[in-house]
């Protein structure tokens, strides 16, 4: 008996988050250029809410920049989500690749950026989204390899 469910669900969750990042990032950049794209306002709002839920989850598992490391006994959490939280924690130590507020600051601040209309905040948020995308791509790619193998 195989336990594909863990990996496939992790893959689908990661893909959803990547799609949300792309939707929001494109929306913010087009708005900055006063251009319009085919994405609906609802799709953008859904993307914000998905990312907010995910960041809330990470915040609970990891805490602030000076807070606890990922609790090794993180309970009630599936192993792939725990591994993602561990990758997040690792990324915080990699100040060359991960320099945004999301990794070097407070996750709570980034959650506020998601809904902010303050000038300049969009730039900060876009940097966070870029780096989160990097982290998630690695995680999703590992799931994809486990499910589909490599050629």
């Amino acid at each position: 008996m195989r336990a594909q469910w863990l990996t496939v669900q992790s893959f689908q969750h990661g893909q959803e988050l990547l799609a949300a990042i792309n939707t929001l990032s494109i929306h913010l950049k087009l708005r900055d250029q006063s251009a319009a794209g085919p994405d609906s306002a609802k799709a953008v709002e859904d993307a914000r809410r998905k990312l907010d839920r995910f960041l809330e989850e990470m915040e609970q598992m990891i805490g602030g920049p000076n807070g606890k490391e990922v609790n090794p006994l993180l309970l009630g959490t599936n192993p792939r989500t725990r591994e993602l939280a561990e990758s997040f924690e690792e990324a915080r130590k990699d100040r060359t690749r991960f320099r945004s507020e999301l990794f070097q600051g407070d996750i709570a601040n980034v959650r506020q950026l998601l809904d902010s209309n303050v000038k300049g905040d969009e730039e900060l948020l876009l940097r966070c989204l870029d780096e989160l995308r990097l982290l998630l791509q690695e995680h999703v790619q590992a799931d994809a390899t486990q499910i589909m193998g490599q050629i």
Binding site: M1, A3, N22, S25, L30, G37, L75, G76, P79
Partner: protein, 380 residues
């Protein structure tokens, strides 16, 4: 553009396969086409964005294209295959699976597909989307009745997915209790103590998926009664020593509990249901094979008898939360093996009785029973 071409090409193949599909695969076929439309929509949207000619969004479009390419790869790898490989003989499995989904409110509208691999399920995540569920069963057992009860375990994973938050909370509580039971009576601060602490952490983490698997076993027993216990035991008991004992190193974060332990818990469940003879015979078979291999029962701290009460209590709470159908006593004791089956559970329990009582005459009985089952309209 290349991805669009590939999607169209696959679409043609899917359409060509539509004639002659088992009727039970209809909703799954529609769902697979809808998934294809969704993927095509994402590609077209990316092309529309590209037409805006804005360099600033190119990194996002690249990522978006990679995302949809990966989704298409999964679609190709997993979802399409159940349509392209479909054959008339799938009706037995698909009819059983459709019935199984129809009797649970949560899964009623989830289409089912079938594919050929080791027993497993790929459930959708209802919080993300209502993609279909694919059940896997090895080719050799798809044509008979005896191992269909293994699906009763697999649907447990779907029920878990529908109640994920509540179920994860219950698992969290259980892991907390296990952590408490493992805590040393004396705290030291040396390397040995740190190693022990790390091992305790692994044990507690390992129980996340073990709890889900034991819950699914309980769902299997709740749905199928003795037929599930027989199928589960017979399917796994001759697969080798690692069904009986696993080294501590390989127990760390293992997705499934050692099968011997699962048998103990199934026997416990049978006893609690008053089926003492079934419980004794189940454990007896495993004990004999274990003894013949000179393997003793040892879970190296990953399970201890002190875990039993909290584990059983958690699983009871999980069953209450998800409400799988309960096996009805008459489904396991019907006297007439040729009676029209009122439910697959009745049929599968009859099959095991027939097989155990008269293995030589079983195949001819099974052929008639399958024919009659396929022709019968099942009550939900």
């Amino acid at each position: 553009m290349d991805l669009l071409r590939e999607i169209s090409q696959l679409e043609d193949v899917i359409h060509q396969s539509s004639s002659g599909l088992p009727p039970e695969l209809g909703p799954y076929y529609d769902a697979v086409l809808a998934m294809k439309d969704e993927l095509r929509g994402q590609v077209v949207q990316n092309l529309d964005y590209l037409d805006l000619g804005l360099d600033v969004i190119l990194p996002d479009l690249l990522s978006s294209t990679q995302t949809v390419t990966r989704s298409f790869a999964l679609y190709n790898h997993m979802y399409v295959r159940s349509v392209l490989r479909a054959k008339h003989s799938d009706r037995l499995c698909l009819k059983t699976l459709r019935w199984l989904h129809s009797i649970h409110e949560q899964t009623r509208r989830v289409p089912v597909g079938l594919s050929d691999e080791e027993v497993s399920v790929v459930p959708m995540d209802p919080e993300i989307s209502m993609t279909p569920a694919i059940y896997f069963l090895p080719c050799s057992v798809q044509y008979g009745l005896l191992y269909l009860p293994l699906f009763f375990h697999e649907i447990g994973h779907l029920l878990y997915a529908f109640h994920r938050r509540e179920m994860d909370d219950l698992v969290r509580d259980l892991q907390g209790q296990i952590r408490g039971l493992l805590a040393p009576s004396v705290q030291r601060n040396d390397q040995h103590a740190r190693d022990d602490e790390r091992l305790r952490g692994y044990i507690v983490q390992t129980w996340y998926s073990w709890t889900q698997e034991l819950f699914c076993d309980a769902v299997g027993y709740s749905l199928g009664g003795p037929a599930f216990a027989s199928a589960f035991s017979m399917y796994l008991r001759l697969r080798g020593p690692d069904q009986y004992q696993v080294s501590p190193r390989r127990l760390v974060l293992r997705t499934h509990p050692v099968t011997w332990l699962r048998i103990r818990l199934l026997a416990d469940r049978a006893r609690r249901a008053g089926r003492h003879h079934d419980a004794t015979s189940l454990e007896g078979a495993w004990d004999s094979i274990g003894a013949a291999m000179d393997v003793t029962e040892d879970y190296y701290g990953f399970y201890d008898d002190s875990f039993l009460d909290p584990v059983l209590s958690t699983i009871e709470d999980m069953l209450t939360e998800t409400e799988p159908r309960s096996f009805r006593e008459h489904e396991g004791t019907a006297a007439d093996p040729d009676a029209i089956p009122a439910s697959p559970v009745y049929l599968l329990n009859t099959a095991w009785r027939q097989f155990l009582n008269n293995p030589d005459g079983y195949r001819s009985w099974e052929e008639r029973a399958i024919e009659s089952f396929i022709a019968t309209e099942l009550p939900e």
